[in-house]
Subunit: 222 residues, 2 copies
DNA sequence: CCGATTAAATGGGTTATATTCATTGTAGCC
DNA sequence: GGCTACAATGAATATAACCCATTTAATCGG
């Protein structure tokens, strides 16, 4: 056969990837078979192994493509004007929105990225790392602009943002509650910025403002 | 063959579960074979299917057992004396500690619980739910005691706690950074309680205290 | 103590599916 | 037009979960 044009190769590649994505999203990774994907993509089973290393590699490439789109979306939105708080609110909304729109892929994405241990699957780790770096830059900008307390470890702040976003999204995806993206993202930003502590004197107890000074700086240790 | 004593049955069950846990932890779920587990447990392959529905069920039972221990640990520690803040610090430390001690099982746990979609695997969801309920009670106590702002949605607060714990733990497990549990848990509690916002007038910008009143109550909508 | 009963345990057989590879087809080039 | 290099095929292979007919042995009634 021929040394086919680059375009044709790309098309074949894409059609296999598309078929795989649809299969994985509909039936999950395990329940999707190479045969089924091959049929859907109108190629032989063997050909898949010319374009992809194996079934799992097929999943990874699919997730990478999804992730690239995801990051692009978030970044374009974060690059917008406005102070840190505005950008935080916009980003949070976009982030949740993406989860809601592509719930099924997100599940696959999270499962894959979270499960792999670092020794195997460096590709997976790389996806995760890029994601984290984007958030990290975001936080660092916030610190630079003076919107985030500069004594905080930016990595911790990033994990805080990251964690609450993923958790809120996941709960709404796995539960059956519909997620009002606008309302929820606003609440998230509020609590991220202000913390949960009750600074008023509402309490029956006096725990609220207790040893604040000690906490803010001191390593009291336990 | 005999109707064996309940004790003997329990022992067999446990020995299979132990072998499975070791295999899964060392090689991961996929890479562990029933044959290998059967050999390690000194039983025939077929017998495993008398005690467990299938390989995946074996994983679930193993994770349930792990999770039961985990919750017990946390609960015993949270039940301790002290105000909300103290309990929060103690719980956070215990939580991180557990992650560090059983890193490999935690990875399996997270992967399994996070990946499954709600339609399949109700057992998995149940594990997750109990976990969430424990945290939820914790938060509600904090609100009742007046330590957490009562206008916050407790579910959101729970997701905040949950998310940052998991994310911090995961990053340290997957990266190679050692995690200083005491130091990190203190930082986490600080930021959870106080939020990230810079309330001082350090900033070159005026973003810090800008529309605070609007934020605290109003649905400004977007 | 014995043999009948019944459930535990075995392990070879079955099935399902990812992966391979010897073979076939064909696009581009001389 | 034939040559060649590579795309493409799909039957064959390998592996591993899972099934089931058969075997083994605890328990108990006599």
């Amino acid at each position: 056969m021929p040394k086919i044009s680059a375009q044709k190769l790309k098309d074949r590649y894409d059609s296999i990837l598309d078929a795989a994505q649809q299969a994985f999203v509909e039936n999950g990774f395990e329940a999707s078979s190479i045969t089924q994907i091959a049929n859907a993509a109108d190629v032989s089973e063997g050909l898949i192994y010319r374009y992809f290393e194996n079934k799992h590699d097929l999943l990874l490439r699919m997730l990478e493509a999804f992730y690239a789109r995801f990051v692009m979306k978030i970044q374009s939105v974060v690059a917008s004007e406005g102070d840190f708080e505005t950008r935080l609110r916009v980003m949070t909304r976009a982030h949740l929105q993406a989860y809601v729109e592509d719930a099924d892929i997100c599940r696959l994405f999270i499962a894959e990225v979270r499960s792999s241990n670092p020794n195997s699957h460096p590709d997976t780790q790389a996806i995760d790392k890029r994601y984290g770096m984007m958030l990290m830059r975001f936080v660092q900008n916030g610190i630079r602009e003076g919107s985030i307390r500069s004594e905080l470890d930016p990595r911790l702040v990033r994990d805080l943002f990251w964690g609450v976003l993923e958790n809120v999204a996941r709960r709404h995806l796995n539960g059956r509650m519909p997620l009002d993206v606008d309302v929820m993202s606003e609440s998230i930003c509020d609590v991220l910025l202000s913390g949960v502590e009750n600074k008023g004197v509402t309490s029956s107890r006096s725990s609220a403002g207790r040893n604040k000074s000690k906490r803010r700086n001191g390593r009291s240790k336990a």
